[in-house]
Protein backbone atom coordinates (compact mmCIF):
# COMPACT_ATOMS: atom_id res chain seq x y z
CA UNK A 1 0.00 0.00 0.00
CA UNK A 2 2.58 2.51 1.14
CA UNK A 3 4.77 1.68 -1.84
CA UNK A 4 1.86 2.35 -4.19
CA UNK A 5 1.34 5.83 -2.77
CA UNK A 6 4.92 6.90 -3.12
CA UNK A 7 5.59 5.60 -6.64
CA UNK A 8 3.05 6.81 -9.15
CA UNK A 9 1.66 4.04 -11.32
CA UNK A 10 0.82 4.44 -14.98
CA UNK A 11 -2.83 4.90 -14.01
CA UNK A 12 -2.19 7.78 -11.59
CA UNK A 13 0.04 9.48 -14.14
CA UNK A 14 -2.67 9.19 -16.77
CA UNK A 15 -5.32 10.56 -14.39
CA UNK A 16 -3.05 13.46 -13.48
CA UNK A 17 -2.31 14.20 -17.12
CA UNK A 18 -5.98 14.23 -18.06
CA UNK A 19 -6.73 16.61 -15.19
CA UNK A 20 -4.08 19.02 -16.44
CA UNK A 21 -5.39 18.72 -20.00
CA UNK A 22 -8.93 19.36 -18.79
CA UNK A 23 -7.86 22.43 -16.87
CA UNK A 24 -5.99 23.73 -19.91
CA UNK A 25 -9.04 23.09 -22.06
CA UNK A 26 -11.24 25.04 -19.67
CA UNK A 27 -8.68 27.85 -19.68
CA UNK A 28 -8.72 28.01 -23.48
CA UNK A 29 -12.51 28.01 -23.48
CA UNK A 30 -12.54 30.91 -21.02
CA UNK A 31 -10.13 32.89 -23.13
CA UNK A 32 -12.27 32.40 -26.21
CA UNK A 33 -15.43 33.37 -24.38
CA UNK A 34 -13.90 36.59 -23.17
CA UNK A 35 -13.04 37.58 -26.71
CA UNK A 36 -12.45 41.30 -26.94
CA UNK A 37 -12.33 43.87 -29.62
CA UNK A 38 -8.83 45.21 -30.16
CA UNK A 39 -7.50 48.66 -31.01
CA UNK A 40 -7.49 47.44 -34.63
CA UNK A 41 -11.21 46.64 -34.60
CA UNK A 42 -11.89 50.04 -33.05
CA UNK A 43 -9.94 51.66 -35.88
CA UNK A 44 -11.98 49.63 -38.38
CA UNK A 45 -15.26 50.69 -36.72
CA UNK A 46 -14.15 54.32 -36.86
CA UNK A 47 -13.21 53.94 -40.55
CA UNK A 48 -16.74 52.65 -41.25
CA UNK A 49 -18.13 55.93 -39.93
CA UNK A 50 -15.61 58.48 -41.17
CA UNK A 51 -14.62 56.78 -44.42
CA UNK A 52 -11.45 58.25 -45.92
CA UNK A 53 -11.73 61.56 -44.06
CA UNK A 54 -9.04 62.55 -41.57
CA UNK A 55 -10.02 62.85 -37.92
CA UNK A 56 -8.60 65.95 -36.28
CA UNK A 57 -8.01 66.29 -32.55
CA UNK A 58 -9.93 69.11 -30.87
CA UNK A 59 -13.36 70.79 -30.69
CA UNK A 60 -14.82 67.73 -28.94
CA UNK A 61 -14.80 67.28 -25.18
CA UNK A 62 -15.46 63.80 -23.78
CA UNK A 63 -16.16 64.04 -20.07
CA UNK A 64 -15.53 60.65 -18.49
CA UNK A 65 -14.19 59.83 -15.02
CA UNK A 66 -10.54 58.66 -15.28
CA UNK A 67 -11.12 56.00 -12.60
CA UNK A 68 -14.28 53.91 -12.78
CA UNK A 69 -15.30 51.55 -9.99
CA UNK A 70 -18.10 49.76 -11.82
CA UNK A 71 -17.84 49.17 -15.55
CA UNK A 72 -21.54 48.29 -15.80
CA UNK A 73 -22.64 51.87 -15.70
CA UNK A 74 -20.16 54.60 -16.49
CA UNK A 75 -21.64 58.10 -16.76
CA UNK A 76 -20.18 60.34 -19.46
CA UNK A 77 -21.03 63.37 -21.52
CA UNK A 78 -19.82 64.66 -24.87
CA UNK A 79 -19.90 68.30 -25.89
CA UNK A 80 -18.74 69.86 -29.12
CA UNK A 81 -17.65 73.43 -29.68
CA UNK A 82 -20.06 74.56 -32.41
CA UNK A 83 -22.35 77.57 -32.97
CA UNK A 84 -25.19 75.18 -34.01
CA UNK A 85 -26.52 77.46 -36.77
CA UNK A 86 -28.20 76.13 -39.95
CA UNK A 87 -24.92 76.64 -41.84
CA UNK A 88 -22.53 75.30 -39.19
CA UNK A 89 -23.69 72.55 -36.87
CA UNK A 90 -22.78 69.13 -35.54
CA UNK A 91 -24.46 66.37 -37.53
CA UNK A 92 -23.55 63.45 -35.29
CA UNK A 93 -21.41 62.24 -32.42
CA UNK A 94 -20.12 58.66 -32.39
CA UNK A 95 -18.54 57.04 -29.34
CA UNK A 96 -16.14 54.06 -29.59
CA UNK A 97 -14.20 51.87 -27.17
CA UNK A 98 -11.12 49.75 -27.51
CA UNK A 99 -11.74 46.49 -25.62
CA UNK A 100 -15.46 45.73 -25.27
CA UNK A 101 -16.71 42.81 -27.42
CA UNK A 102 -18.04 45.44 -29.86
CA UNK A 103 -16.31 48.72 -30.61
CA UNK A 104 -19.39 50.93 -31.05
CA UNK A 105 -21.06 52.43 -28.01
CA UNK A 106 -23.57 54.93 -29.37
CA UNK A 107 -24.20 57.20 -32.35
CA UNK A 108 -26.35 60.29 -31.83
CA UNK A 109 -27.63 62.59 -34.55
CA UNK A 110 -28.35 66.28 -34.14
CA UNK A 111 -29.63 69.09 -36.28
CA UNK A 112 -29.25 72.85 -35.99
CA UNK A 113 -32.39 72.79 -33.82
CA UNK A 114 -30.50 71.09 -31.02
CA UNK A 115 -29.12 74.47 -29.93
CA UNK A 116 -26.25 72.80 -28.12
CA UNK A 117 -24.18 69.86 -29.37
CA UNK A 118 -24.09 68.09 -26.06
CA UNK A 119 -25.43 64.83 -24.65
CA UNK A 120 -25.07 62.74 -21.51
CA UNK A 121 -25.54 59.00 -21.11
CA UNK A 122 -24.08 55.88 -19.45
CA UNK A 123 -21.89 53.21 -21.01
CA UNK A 124 -20.52 49.76 -20.20
CA UNK A 125 -16.78 49.15 -20.13
CA UNK A 126 -15.25 45.66 -20.10
CA UNK A 127 -11.72 46.71 -19.21
CA UNK A 128 -9.37 49.60 -18.62
CA UNK A 129 -9.28 51.09 -22.06
CA UNK A 130 -9.43 54.08 -24.37
CA UNK A 131 -12.75 55.71 -25.24
CA UNK A 132 -13.00 57.90 -28.33
CA UNK A 133 -15.74 60.40 -29.20
CA UNK A 134 -15.89 61.60 -32.81
CA UNK A 135 -18.00 64.54 -33.99
CA UNK A 136 -19.18 64.81 -37.57
CA UNK A 137 -19.67 68.45 -38.63
CA UNK A 138 -22.08 69.79 -41.23
CA UNK A 139 -19.10 70.71 -43.44
CA UNK A 140 -18.00 67.06 -43.50
CA UNK A 141 -15.01 67.38 -41.16
CA UNK A 142 -14.41 65.04 -38.21
CA UNK A 143 -13.06 65.94 -34.78
CA UNK A 144 -12.18 63.63 -31.90
CA UNK A 145 -11.34 63.42 -28.23
CA UNK A 146 -9.78 60.39 -26.53
CA UNK A 147 -9.88 59.51 -22.83
CA UNK A 148 -8.06 56.66 -21.05
CA UNK A 149 -10.17 55.03 -18.34
CA UNK A 150 -9.14 52.67 -15.55
CA UNK A 151 -11.93 50.23 -14.68
CA UNK A 152 -11.75 48.23 -11.43
CA UNK A 153 -14.87 46.05 -11.88
CA UNK A 154 -15.51 45.20 -15.51
CA UNK A 155 -18.90 44.85 -17.16
CA UNK A 156 -19.88 41.74 -19.13
CA UNK A 157 -18.22 39.18 -16.84
CA UNK A 158 -20.26 39.51 -13.67
CA UNK A 159 -22.29 36.30 -13.91
CA UNK A 160 -22.76 33.25 -16.04
CA UNK A 161 -19.08 32.49 -16.34
CA UNK A 162 -17.95 29.43 -14.32
Amino acid sequence: MSKKERNPTRRTILIGASCVAGALGAQVLLTIRRAQATPATMAAAIRQVVGEATVNPGKVHLDLPPLVENGNTVPYSVSVDSPMTPSDYVKAIHVFNEKNPQSNIISVHFGPRAGRANFTSRMRLADSEKVVAIAEMSDGSFWADTVEVVVTIAACVEDGLP
Binding site: G115, F119, S121, C156
Partner: protein, 106 residues
Protein backbone atom coordinates in the same frame (compact mmCIF):
# COMPACT_ATOMS: atom_id res chain seq x y z
CA UNK B 1 -43.92 47.82 -18.17
CA UNK B 2 -40.90 49.83 -19.12
CA UNK B 3 -42.41 53.14 -17.94
CA UNK B 4 -40.18 55.83 -19.47
CA UNK B 5 -39.35 58.87 -17.37
CA UNK B 6 -39.21 62.23 -19.12
CA UNK B 7 -38.02 65.46 -17.62
CA UNK B 8 -38.26 68.78 -19.43
CA UNK B 9 -39.50 72.25 -18.46
CA UNK B 10 -43.27 72.80 -18.85
CA UNK B 11 -42.74 76.46 -19.81
CA UNK B 12 -39.97 78.09 -21.81
CA UNK B 13 -39.21 81.38 -23.52
CA UNK B 14 -39.11 81.36 -27.32
CA UNK B 15 -35.56 80.61 -28.49
CA UNK B 16 -34.45 79.31 -25.11
CA UNK B 17 -32.27 76.17 -25.11
CA UNK B 18 -33.91 73.55 -22.91
CA UNK B 19 -32.50 70.30 -21.50
CA UNK B 20 -34.46 67.08 -22.01
CA UNK B 21 -33.75 64.07 -19.80
CA UNK B 22 -35.07 60.61 -20.59
CA UNK B 23 -34.77 57.29 -18.77
CA UNK B 24 -36.34 53.99 -19.77
CA UNK B 25 -36.14 50.73 -17.86
CA UNK B 26 -34.62 48.00 -20.04
CA UNK B 27 -32.11 45.26 -19.20
CA UNK B 28 -30.05 45.87 -22.40
CA UNK B 29 -28.86 42.24 -22.55
CA UNK B 30 -25.64 42.44 -24.53
CA UNK B 31 -25.71 39.10 -26.37
CA UNK B 32 -22.13 38.47 -25.24
CA UNK B 33 -22.89 36.82 -21.91
CA UNK B 34 -23.29 33.11 -21.12
CA UNK B 35 -25.74 31.55 -18.71
CA UNK B 36 -24.48 29.21 -15.97
CA UNK B 37 -25.36 26.25 -18.25
CA UNK B 38 -23.00 27.60 -20.89
CA UNK B 39 -25.47 28.80 -23.49
CA UNK B 40 -25.20 32.25 -25.00
CA UNK B 41 -27.87 34.62 -23.71
CA UNK B 42 -29.42 36.16 -26.84
CA UNK B 43 -29.12 39.89 -27.41
CA UNK B 44 -32.06 41.99 -26.27
CA UNK B 45 -31.35 45.71 -26.49
CA UNK B 46 -33.00 48.94 -27.53
CA UNK B 47 -31.47 49.88 -30.88
CA UNK B 48 -33.09 53.21 -31.78
CA UNK B 49 -34.24 56.28 -29.94
CA UNK B 50 -36.05 59.10 -31.69
CA UNK B 51 -37.25 62.44 -30.37
CA UNK B 52 -39.58 64.64 -32.40
CA UNK B 53 -40.81 68.18 -31.64
CA UNK B 54 -44.24 68.82 -33.20
CA UNK B 55 -43.49 66.01 -35.64
CA UNK B 56 -40.03 67.23 -36.62
CA UNK B 57 -36.99 65.14 -35.70
CA UNK B 58 -34.70 66.92 -33.24
CA UNK B 59 -32.57 64.10 -31.86
CA UNK B 60 -31.91 60.49 -32.82
CA UNK B 61 -29.64 57.86 -31.31
CA UNK B 62 -28.46 54.42 -32.35
CA UNK B 63 -27.73 52.20 -29.32
CA UNK B 64 -25.22 49.35 -29.19
CA UNK B 65 -24.80 46.70 -26.45
CA UNK B 66 -22.29 48.98 -24.69
CA UNK B 67 -25.11 51.31 -23.64
CA UNK B 68 -25.69 50.60 -19.94
CA UNK B 69 -28.91 48.99 -18.69
CA UNK B 70 -31.86 51.38 -18.28
CA UNK B 71 -30.69 53.79 -21.00
CA UNK B 72 -30.46 57.37 -19.82
CA UNK B 73 -30.00 60.33 -22.16
CA UNK B 74 -29.79 64.06 -21.67
CA UNK B 75 -29.82 66.34 -24.70
CA UNK B 76 -30.89 69.82 -25.72
CA UNK B 77 -33.24 71.58 -28.08
CA UNK B 78 -34.35 75.10 -28.88
CA UNK B 79 -37.88 75.87 -27.66
CA UNK B 80 -39.48 77.13 -30.89
CA UNK B 81 -43.22 76.74 -30.37
CA UNK B 82 -45.77 75.33 -27.95
CA UNK B 83 -46.58 71.74 -28.66
CA UNK B 84 -45.73 68.13 -28.02
CA UNK B 85 -42.34 66.47 -27.78
CA UNK B 86 -42.57 62.76 -28.54
CA UNK B 87 -40.06 60.06 -27.65
CA UNK B 88 -39.87 56.61 -29.24
CA UNK B 89 -37.66 53.69 -28.31
CA UNK B 90 -37.51 50.59 -30.52
CA UNK B 91 -35.43 47.47 -30.14
CA UNK B 92 -34.94 43.73 -30.38
CA UNK B 93 -37.86 41.29 -30.11
CA UNK B 94 -40.33 43.91 -31.31
CA UNK B 95 -39.71 46.25 -28.39
CA UNK B 96 -41.43 49.60 -28.84
CA UNK B 97 -42.27 52.29 -26.33
CA UNK B 98 -43.58 55.82 -26.82
CA UNK B 99 -43.90 58.73 -24.44
CA UNK B 100 -44.69 62.39 -24.92
CA UNK B 101 -44.61 65.66 -23.02
CA UNK B 102 -46.16 69.04 -23.63
CA UNK B 103 -44.35 72.35 -23.57
CA UNK B 104 -45.74 75.88 -23.51
CA UNK B 105 -43.53 78.46 -25.24
CA UNK B 106 -44.17 82.16 -24.65
Amino acid sequence: MSAPLINLPAHAKRGEIIAIKTLISHEMETGFRYSSSGTLIPRNIITEFLCTYNGEEIFRARFYPAVAANPFLTFFTVATASGTITFTWTGDNGFSETASANIVVE
